[in-house]
């Protein structure tokens, strides 16, 4: 690569890696794994940067989604040792807020993978259903149903914990979710 090509790649990484990493994080529920998969995708893009014309972000998003899906398939065959928790750079939160986040993250991770992917790609990434269907190698109807079910589950969790957060601290005996957020072993 010449300097200008390298510069363009660097600019792309500098300006878009945060957004891409966040997509990977929501798809995997694991910050370290998301970093790893994104780095892998970027390394592939680096090698073939000159051949990626036009819209590198679209290419990266597609490649990243495919990489995540490949990882899911791989893990079915070869479970990995869990990595350490990786939310260490999280900003401190109000306890109630952290509680909601922890519950939402746990619920996101507990979703079937295709539901999770459909929610993230359709609603967070705002991709058209047709594109999500292509990425996930399924029909538009499947995308709709997966996204709907996943979203419904997340709504329920959010509603439950929003209500819980509003209740007085001493008002009930119902067990609360752990505040400790661990991000490993999401895929089972």
């Amino acid at each position: 690569m010449d300097d200008s090509t390298v510069g363009a790649f660097e600019d792309f990484v500098r300006t878009r890696s945060t957004a891409l990493l966040r997509v990977a994080f929501l798809l995997t529920g694991d910050a370290r794994l998301a970093e790893d998969l994104l780095q892998d995708v970027l390394s592939r893009m680096y090698v073939r940067w000159r051949k990626i014309n036009g819209q590198p972000e679209a290419y990266a998003r597609r490649a990243l989604t495919n990489r995540v899906i490949s990882h899911w398939r791989w893990r079915r065959r070869r479970p990995e040792a869990p990595l350490p928790a990786a939310f260490d750079h999280a900003a401190p939160e109000e306890p109630a807020q952290a509680l909601t986040d922890a519950a939402l993250l746990a619920a996101l991770r507990a979703l079937p993978k295709r539901q999770r992917a459909a929610v993230v790609l359709r609603y967070v990434q705002d991709l058209p259903e047709r594109e999500v269907a292509e990425l996930l190698h399924c029909s538009v109807g499947t995308v709709k149903s997966n996204a709907s079910r996943g979203l419904t589950r997340l709504r329920e969790v959010l509603a439950d914990h929003t209500d819980t957060d509003r209740s007085p601290p001493s008002g009930g005996t119902a067990p609360r979710p752990e505040l400790v957020v661990t991000l490993n072993g999401a895929d089972s």
Binding site: M1, D2, D3, S4, V6, G7, E10, V13, R14, S17, T18, L21, R22, V23, F25, L26, A31, R32, A34, E35, D36, L38, Q39, D40, L42, S43, R44, M45, Y46, V47, R48, K51, N66, S70, R73, W74, R77, R78, L83, F87, H89, A90, A91, T100, D101, L104, L105, L108, V119, V120, Y123, V124, D126, L151, L154, R155, L158
Partner: protein
């Protein structure tokens, strides 16, 4: 897409969760390292082209890992990957059939039985023949081995419009690197693949702290470097050493505190690569420690580059600077042109083509001095060492030389202080600061504007004022 309020709330909360994740500082460097591993499987680009571009002012060629050889030397014909299948086992454990059998068993057991869909990852389904241990020996970190086996890379669908190397698919060599596991038995630490025709340049780290490096002997001279340092003039010194293999491999002990990401081994006759080009003749080093595997070793990286995003200051004033640039560059010095000149001055001996994580300057102070020199000042971080301050210095005839200002400290009151040659003054910069100066014996402060300034050589102190708080900085005499 129109979404209802509940959905928007969920999406907002998901975005909030994701907002707490930020890329690691080494993301770019890590991607480049992986790209190198990936390129290992591609056809070797013939050396002899893309040699180091000499810096405009006639700066000498970069220090090279080989000595006394002309430029444009093709790499020595090292042993090819394919030939390893026929090579007898070497190493002091070559005569231990029990250990060799354990290596073969561990190698196969570590691989998935079937081809992962859509992947060319090594798997038992696509292996051919039998595992062959090419080297097995005792090291300071325990018994180690390198096992190889023919691997038929399955042909994948290639995206429309994409081109792939001719040797992307088909016969390859799968290479497994083994060291002692928790119970002391041989365990696969990492694996790579290489086309048959590529040189057999394989090495790997092992040990709890990755303190042992094994380089398979390619039957050709090999040099290695444990890292680089900056000389007083800002040039980079790799401190190349000659590898001395014994019985099939060179076993090195990596000193504690070494940044393993900076370790390089190359065929001794390989021409120095131009920056960012392919690097034929370089070993692929597997299982090195990175921030995700062993943060205690290599996790200390932070960006020390000055994050003065997209800043460009014309000194001493815009009109004069633009007029000066008009002479040799374009009507207005665009960022690309400024960057190109600065890159030219800071290439060659001033950079390290074996470092993947180069973080280039996000700002430039450009201008013209009273005697007509043009300058571009910026900083650059190589790998995980502190960012360094450099200047391009160009005379009226286009002659270019390089100025070096040492490491920068982003948190300092005045991070940029570079003395220009010939009594042409100082370039100083502190983004967002109000700058003023005075000389020896003077007490009155002379305003020098904001962000950056070209100060006369008589300046001895700079006052840096940010949000009403002032710090006085003494310029070195």
């Amino acid at each position: 897409m129109s979404i209802d309020g509940d959905t928007a709330t969920v999406v907002d909360r998901l975005n909030h969760l994701a907002d707490r994740v930020t890329p690691p500082p080494d993301l770019l460097g890590g991607a480049r390292r992986r790209a190198r591993h990936r390129r290992h499987r591609r056809q070797v680009i013939t050396a002899g082209v893309a040699l180091l571009a000499l810096v405009g002012g006639g700066v000498a060629v970069q220090a090279r890992p080989w000595a006394g050889r002309a430029d444009h030397v093709a790499p020595t014909a090292a042993r090819t990957a394919r030939s390893l299948l026929d090579q007898p086992t070497r190493g002091d454990l070559a005569g231990s059939p029990g250990y060799l059998a354990q290596v073969g068993t561990a190698w196969l057991a570590a691989l998935p039985a079937n081809r992962p869909k859509g992947s060319t990852a090594t798997n038992r389904q696509d292996l051919r023949g039998k595992p062959h241990v090419v080297w097995a020996g005792n090291t300071p970190s325990g018994a180690a081995a390198i096992v190889v086996q023919e691997f038929d890379v399955p042909r994948l669908d290639v995206p429309a419009g994409a081109t792939v190397p001719t040797d992307m698919f088909g016969p390859h060599l799968a290479i497994g690197y083994l060291g002692p596991g928790r119970n002391g038995a041989p365990t696969v630490l990492d694996s790579t693949q290489a086309p048959f025709t590529q040189p057999a340049l394989f090495g790997f780290f092992l040990g709890a702290q990755r303190s042992t490096l094994v380089l398979l002997d390619p039957d050709a001279p090999v040099n290695y470097s444990l890292g680089f340092r900056y000389r007083q003039d800002g040039t980079v010194d790799r401190g190349w050493r000659v590898a001395t293999p014994r019985d099939g491999a060179t076993v090195l002990t990596v000193p504690g505190g070494t940044d393993q990401r900076a370790i390089v081994a190359v065929l001794a006759d390989t021409p120095s690569p131009s920056e960012f080009s392919e690097r034929p003749g370089e070993f692929v080093l597997a299982n090195h420690a990175d921030a995700s595997t062993l943060p205690s070793i290599n996790g200390g990286h932070t960006y020390s580059r000055l994050e003065w995003n997209q800043s460009q200051w014309a000194l001493p004033d815009r009109t004069a600077a633009e007029k000066a640039w008009h002479l040799t560059l374009a009507p207005n010095p665009t960022s690309e042109q400024v960057r190109a000149l600065w890159n030219k001055a800071t290439g060659g001996r001033y950079t390290d083509p074996y470092t993947d994580g180069a973080a280039f300057s996000q700002w430039f102070a450009v201008g013209v001095t009273p005697d007509g020199h043009r300058f571009v000042v910026g900083d650059r971080q190589l790998g995980h060492q502190p960012s360094q301050l450099y200047g391009a210095w160009q005379d009226a005839h286009g002659g270019l030389s390089t100025l070096y200002g040492g490491p920068v400290t982003p948190g300092a009151a005045l991070p940029v202080r570079l003395r220009l040659p010939g009594g042409q003054g100082w370039v100083v910069a502190a983004k967002g600061a109000q700058l003023s100066w005075h000389g020896t014996g003077g007490t009155a402060w002379t305003d020098a504007g904001t962000d950056a300034a070209l100060l006369p050589t008589a300046a001895t102190q700079v006052r840096v004022t940010v949000n009403g708080h002032s710090t006085d900085v003494t310029l070195a005499s």
